[in-house]
């Protein structure tokens, strides 16, 4: 009995993997920046320090997204 293929997907599942990996850092960076904006709106005179802290927070949460992009290239 022959197997008939009705539909097929081809391509690289790394793109799906990266898409899933980008959900967490996307939400995380959004939360960090949103909180920073909220803090700046409560106390505008702390804008410089809060902006610096915001960038530090973005650096940490963005790390996983960057590793996600890189694994697509590593595990070819």
């Amino acid at each position: 009995m022959d197997i008939t293929t009705l539909a097929a997907l081809n391509g690289n599942i790394a793109t799906v993997g990266y898409g899933l990996a980008a959900i967490g850092p996307g939400i995380g960076v959004g939360i960090v920046v949103g909180k920073a904006i909220e803090g700046i709106s409560r106390q505008p005179e702390l804008q410089g320090r809060l902006t610096t802290q915001m960038f530090i927070g973005i650096a940490f949460t963005e790390a996983l997204a960057l590793i996600g992009i890189a694994t697509g290239f590593i595990f070819r």
Partner: protein, 274 residues
């Protein structure tokens, strides 16, 4: 060399004869053919030539900018001194304070200017690719920044730096089993890796997007016969312009973030533990 550049430009924006389809840019963009010194370890391709050009321009810029320094800067001098002031006040003094800021200022200024100069070439018309979009240059700068913050910590707290960073004080001792490997990985491995990858990936993706939009415009206007799809070329052209401006912003922002994070890591190493 001009023939190689022209050939590259034409093959990037015009598709192979007789093919008819659209070829989106791939990672081969970042490994262009070698134009000089082939076969030796010093083989130069287009990206290396761009890096060398930017290096020469940076040295010229700094030499000319510091040629005749006066106490009260003239109008031209204050324009040229603006980026130096920016790095000194907003990055170095802001995160490190006056004394340490002054000490690490040459490192931070160098990192800022090299990153900014190499990033900006991604939007300059005949260069079109960022010197930092291939991993070599960001890797070197991340390794330098890594050595700098480890050196700063070891010099300031000779015995206690490693102990304080791997075993943060104030944590009940059973938790050290979990916390210490995470701290080690996060501080000594993840910091240089994310610095490198952040810069490389931002520049790589920006270049791929720009090439995609402009080659799509060429394809829609000239490659396929005038039909209903030709007007899409107008849309991709507008997007190409918009993304060029965005790429300019991202180039400056990535240079700022790299320098700022280096300064922050230095500050975390130099911080006094209570």
């Amino acid at each position: 060399m001009e023939r190689a550049l022209l050939h590259h430009a034409l093959t990037q924006i015009s598709m192979a004869a007789g093919d008819g389809g659209f070829h989106a840019p791939s990672l081969d963009e970042f490994f262009p053919p070698i134009v000089l010194f082939e076969g030796t370890p010093f083989a130069l391709n287009r990206i290396m030539l761009i890096r060398l050009l930017v290096m020469v321009l940076l040295v010229l810029f700094v030499t000319v900018a510091t040629r005749s320094l006066k106490v009260v800067p003239s109008r031209g001098s204050s324009i040229v001194e603006f980026p130096f002031n920016f790095v000194r006040n907003s990055i170095a003094y802001e995160t490190l304070g006056e004394r340490d800021g002054r000490r690490y200022l040459p490192l931070l200024t160098t990192i800022f200017f090299v990153t900014l100069g190499m990033n900006l070439t991604s939007v300059i018309p005949f260069l079109n690719i960022a010197g930092t979009s291939v991993i070599g240059l960001p890797l070197v700068m991340a390794v330098i920044s890594w050595i700098a913050f480890i050196y700063a910590g070891l010099k300031k707290h000779p015995g206690a730096f490693i102990r304080n960073s791997l075993f943060p004080p104030g944590v009940p001792w059973p938790l050290y089993i979990i916390v210490t490997p995470i701290e080690f990985f996060s501080t000594f491995i993840l910091r240089p890796v994310t610095l490198t990858l952040r810069l490389t990936m931002n520049m790589l993706v920006g270049h791929l997007l720009l090439v995609l939009f402009f080659s799509a415009t060429w394809f829609f206007f000239f490659q396929q016969g005038p039909n209903g799809f030709t007007l899409f070329g107008l849309g991709t052209l507008v997007f190409g312009f918009a993304f060029t401006l965005f790429e300019l912003f991202v180039a400056a922002l990535q240079a700022y973030i790299f320098t700022l994070l280096t300064a922050v890591y230095l500050q975390l190493s130099l911080a006094e533990e209570h």
